[in-house]
Amino acid sequence: MNGQCNIKYKGTIVEAICLLYTVLFVYAGSSKLLGLGDFKAQLAQTGVLAPFAGWVAWFVPLVEILLAILLLTKAFRLAALYGALVLMALFTTYIAWMLRFSEHIPCSCGGVISSMGWKSHLVFNACWMVLALIGIVLMENKKSNFKNTVQ
């Protein structure tokens, strides 16, 4: 009974994390697509991404929206959480790079997220990475518990 309650509780946490990520990715993705021209221009200013600015400007929001859809699909939820973690890690690396070399360039993060400073953005991303990790651990635990029960 207690175990069942625990599983349900963990399931709700995973659902909440996926829903939060969906809101974040749909918001960030659509904001970037709405201001695609600016997004491209900002990417073109960053030395390292400048040669690929054209396709990165399309690729990033589309991946965000695809991940948001996958996060809502039970069958792909774990894979999507891994994807979200990897994407957040890439964003964090980009922010660390910008902090080191081009701090004056405004963040091309989409919507109100752009108004955050680079440093607060780093903390913001770290929190989201922790959330994705919690979701992954809970889902992996659930998977291994299910396997043990079947065996």
Binding site: Y27, L34, G35, D38, A41, G111
Partner: protein
């Protein structure tokens, strides 16, 4: 039945909320063209945000080079607070 509705309605509300917010918070960024002198490539152009337009304490730089309002050393050095 009720759980099924919630499971369908919650993601739909989340997506609608996110798209609505994206439209609601869409704004024109205050960007300005800035210039810096590269010892090999000469004067280069870049973009800066409004902090570098209005500030006056910390120098705004690109790859370590001071940014200027115009492609000339006599123009205003861009700084932020």
């Amino acid at each position: 039945m009720k759980t099924g509705f919630v499971k369908l309605a919650l993601p739909a509300i989340a997506i609608l909320l996110a798209v609505g917010l994206a439209f609601a918070t869409e704004e024109e960024p205050m960007l300005q063209v800035a210039h810096y002198y590269h010892p090999i490539e000469g004067w280069q152009t870049t973009m800066v945000d409004e902090n570098c337009i209005n500030g006056n304490q910390i120098p705004c730089t690109q790859d370590g080079y001071q940014l200027y309002e115009e492609p000339s050393f006599s123009s205003r050095e861009l700084r932020k607070d």
